[in-house]
């Protein structure tokens, strides 16, 4: 199983470390040639405007888009979610994304850094038993404003300023994404789920409910 981490900017090292904890050696992806033979790719946290520009100037945008269209399993965290979403608000008008996750996100929708926070978020059965939660760090995070009908919500969180619980982790087909940074905490459930999705994409089986242990 060959897993890449987009390594143009952001917290690449934490994702490589998370993969290593799960006995997977990740590959840093900086050019189109690094995509060869990959079965899964992580889009890390970082600045989505910077990542979007660098994907273009590094000639990675089209090859990566084609790879996702032909079945590459992808996992985006924070800026990675922005790059995967169908609809992005509060971004730059020329900001490009892959538009493979049916949802709409508001960039920095939780506010500036002073509103960045950590909290325990409620998780869906794919990530744990009823009532279970996972620790989550939100850094100038994108706010998921709309979730498409075919999208599974894997975790939700409320804020004091916004008591409505919002989707903070999503899955649709071979696309997994979170508004928070699972790579910054010790909880590996989302990375495990991603690896299970890669595994079942390779064997052609549907993704079942993985073991919900951290």
């Amino acid at each position: 199983m060959s897993i890449g981490v987009l390594a143009l900017q952001g917290d690449v090292r934490e994702h490589l470390g998370a993969l290593a904890e799960l006995d997977v050696e990740g590959r840093a992806v900086r050019a189109a040639s690094d995509l060869r033979g990959l079965s899964g790719l992580i889009l890390p946290g970082g600045e989505s405007t910077t990542l979007s520009l660098l994907l273009g100037s590094s000639k990675l945008f089209e090859p990566l888009g084609e790879a996702i269209a032909s079945g590459l399993v992808v996992f985006g965290t924070c800026a990675g979610l922005v790059l995967l979403a169908n609809e992005v608000h509060g971004g730059r008008p020329d900001q490009r994304g892959f538009e493979v996750l049916d949802c709409s996100v508001l960039r920095n929708g939780y506010g500036r850094q002073s509103e960045s926070f950590e909290a325990a978020v409620e998780v869906a059965p794919a990530l744990g038993p009823e009532g279970a939660s996972m620790p989550a760090v939100f850094i100038r995070a994108p706010l998921v404003e709309r979730v498409g009908a075919g999208v599974e919500v894997l975790a939700r969180a409320a804020r004091p300023s916004d008591p409505e619980p919002r989707a903070v982790a999503l899955r649709q087909g071979r696309v997994l994404a979170s508004a928070f940074h699972p790579e910054l905490t010790a909880d590996r459930r989302l990375h495990r789920l991603f690896l299970a999705m890669v595994q079942s994409a390779a064997t052609g089986c549907e993704v079942g409910v993985p073991v919900g242990v951290a």
Partner: protein, 299 residues
């Protein structure tokens, strides 16, 4: 795992403060003095901008007391871009830091580029929700700043000179001492703590991990893509470029080239490609010609 989830959100924790520094890694933070410059920086791919009234080269030239920027300028820059906006407070000037926090800047640089307000004390950074970055010339200085609550460390270098020699000295000193520290046994670590003037807990942590507990960025005298590649190969995780961009002949092109060099710092062919025909870099200064070293401010 079955207890009811604690959904109470906590802001300003150390994980949240250092988290933003982690997200800036591999990127370029650019000094800007107007909203238009901030837009140019964002268009070029900057991960963040530092809102200033004067870049360090002009502070050097003009002399006088350098203070926190006008809040109106900071707000204009915040309104102009979607990327994080940082601003500088004077060393020890906790009231300027409180003002910057009230303006909801994303990071405060407690900076030697401004005129220090306190000759004995840096700001106690723990009570703040907003994270701080501080300059350092040695590992001991870096650890003292971290013990005061800094969530990011940058080399001081010698700001406003376009001369990277001091930044390289500071980086080599910090990274070199970390390497040596990993070889020290538990008794020797106490000697290191004494020699560095740093808390033993942090010394022990670094001896085990081989890296600072917060990201290490490089600042001070950076002006070309090749220099960015140099300092990142020496261990810097991201770069601050101050006067180097907007004191050059073609700021937009140079800014974009520097962003590319940070992303591809290990790929010399890529650095060569983006370095072509950038026009004149900032003029720069030999250090022996300086009347005052900004890096000597702070302790």
């Amino acid at each position: 795992m079955t207890e009811s989830p604690d959904t109470s959100a906590r802001t300003g924790t150390f994980a949240v403060k250092r988290g933003l520094a982690d997200m800036l890694r591999g990127g370029v933070i650019m000094d800007v003095v107007t909203a238009d410059q901030a837009k140019i920086a964002e268009d070029a791919g900057a991960v963040s901008v530092m809102a200033l009234e004067r870049v360090p080269a002009d502070i050097r030239r003009d002399g006088g007391v350098a203070r926190m920027s006008d809040p109106a300028l900071i707000e204009e820059i915040q309104a102009a871009v979607t990327i994080p906006v940082m601003a500088k407070a004077r060393i020890g000037h906790f009231a300027e830091a409180q003002v910057l926090e009230a303006l909801r800047v994303d990071y405060i640089d407690e900076s030697e580029v401004l005129t220090p307000a306190d000759e004995a004390h840096h700001i106690d950074k723990w009570p703040f929700t907003v994270p701080f970055v501080c300059g350092a010339t040695t590992l001991g200085e870096a650890l003292r700043r971290i013990s005061e609550g800094a969530a990011m460390i940058r080399s001081k270098g010698e700001a406003g000179t376009g001369n990277v020699v001091e930044a390289v000295r500071h980086l080599r000193s910090i990274v070199g001492d970390i390497k040596k520290l990993t070889q020290a046994d538990s008794a020797e670590q106490y000697g290191w703590a004494k020699q560095l003037g740093a808390p033993i807990g942090l010394v022990q942590e670094i001896a085990g991990s081989g890296r600072l507990p917060v990201p290490l960025f490089c600042a001070g005298g950076l002006a070309t893509p090749a220099v960015v590649s140099l300092v990142m190969q020496l261990g810097a995780e991201a770069v601050f470029v101050g006067s180097g961009i907007f004191k050059s002949e073609d700021p937009a092109r140079r800014a974009a080239a520097i962003v590319e060099a940070a992303a591809h710092f290990e790929d010399a062919a890529h650095v060569a490609k983006v370095s072509r025909g950038l026009g004149e870099a900032m003029r720069g200064q030999e250090l022996s010609a300086l009347s005052e070293r900004l890096a000597d401010r702070g302790w």
